[in-house]
Subunit: 248 residues, 2 copies
Amino acid sequence: MAARRNTTEDEPALIWERPEPPHRPVPSPLSRARIVRAAIDLADTGGLDEVSLRKVAATLDAGPMRLYGYVATKDELLDLMVDAVYAEITPPEPTGEDWRTALRSLAHRTRQAALRHEWLADLLGGRPHIGPNALAHLEATMSALDAAPGFNDIDTVMRAAGTVHAYTLGALRTEITGRRAERASGMTEQQWQTASSPYFARMLATGRYPTLAKIMHEAAHPDTDTTFDTGLDCVLDGIATRLGSECR
Amino acid sequence: MAARRNTTEDEPALIWERPEPPHRPVPSPLSRARIVRAAIDLADTGGLDEVSLRKVAATLDAGPMRLYGYVATKDELLDLMVDAVYAEITPPEPTGEDWRTALRSLAHRTRQAALRHEWLADLLGGRPHIGPNALAHLEATMSALDAAPGFNDIDTVMRAAGTVHAYTLGALRTEITGRRAERASGMTEQQWQTASSPYFARMLATGRYPTLAKIMHEAAHPDTDTTFDTGLDCVLDGIATRLGSECR
DNA sequence: GTATTGATCAATACACTGTATCATCGAGGG
DNA sequence: CCCTCGATGATACAGTGTATTGATCAATAC
């Protein structure tokens, strides 16, 4: 039975507070941090499929089962990876910004992280993020909003943050999916849709999708940055609207 | 080599237009639709992990390799599953709604589908949705918006639909993740956070998360329906705002 | 100083996955 | 009647996460 140290009873003891096992210096000074870093490096270069316990262990010159001394399951390793990214994007100081720039920089930091680590788009929202860094990130966000003028009660803060978070999550997921598709097909999405893809050409030739055809020919396809920002501004405007109606 | 029938060259020939292979009546009248339905049933009851080619085939009294006559890869099967759900939620007729109710019902239909098929939250946005039903769904949405008063150009339509879609995606993902966590732990999220979980209790006891502590004690935790609707209304308000500023 | 214990790590093993290959077999055409 | 061809089932392979088993080695007890 694995070493468990708990306050009262036999609780599951989430990984965040399980004690890091002592490492004897003989084979190699392994640690949870090194394992997570190795996994993140693998995922950064080859995507999440490249993260297998065997490959991570091989990177660290260890047998696969050695990792189980530091991590109970692969999902825990993924949780640790996500939490490590949260450490990257947690704002350093609760500067006294107004809520709008606070929320906007929150979304932008998450987006930057997801662009650095594309695998994040597959993991974000897939499991509850309750690691210490995720909590610190949340705490920083919430306290900044709570202190910002305009937000009176904590419920408004939560609604606003939740809405922005949901938008960010969805936008990132679709953006990164599109980016992958572009890489896979070797052409930009517009190229792909416009005429190159015979599949799309035939689908549109059926005449069943007149509006889509119109979109592909007439619509401006802005770059990803402005697409994200436009949607984000839209959400922020919505928050401002509801804020005004409440303050009145 | 598999049978490929293409217009010009050796194109990948997405699954949507590959001809359904003829079935000889001898073992069992298999079909792509039956395979997809079996996979959906498995996923509905046991989640996406339950969908393996072997299990799907076993449901249909067939060997695993038999499916490869109808589906080239497992990812294609997942694509077909998603497209089948799009068929469920495509609005029947382009009724002349205003854009607000059109977008709202779009979001609500996707949410209902995701609540029926929780695995959808894992798949939505994970790959580009370009099946015929997804395209029909998109076409219906876009044409409804295009016809709605207030939306002048197609770019506005795309921005609005994209923002709502992103919000819906992210909100659904977090909502369903939370629902799973509740089921797994056997208690509602608020219960879980408030005091029951020793992990949270200890984290809050550190004093590093004062705002989170305040949230847990003071904030109202509305039910999932109103949470989703509140955020959605927020996004719609934002669209209305930007719409007004453009029309002026 | 030696014996015992206890932890830690590597090796093996298992159940399972997606998929390639190959032998079989049965219907359709000459 | 034979022959071909295409679908099917069996087998196989590489890879996955993880349980179990044995060996090895440091710390402790005597």
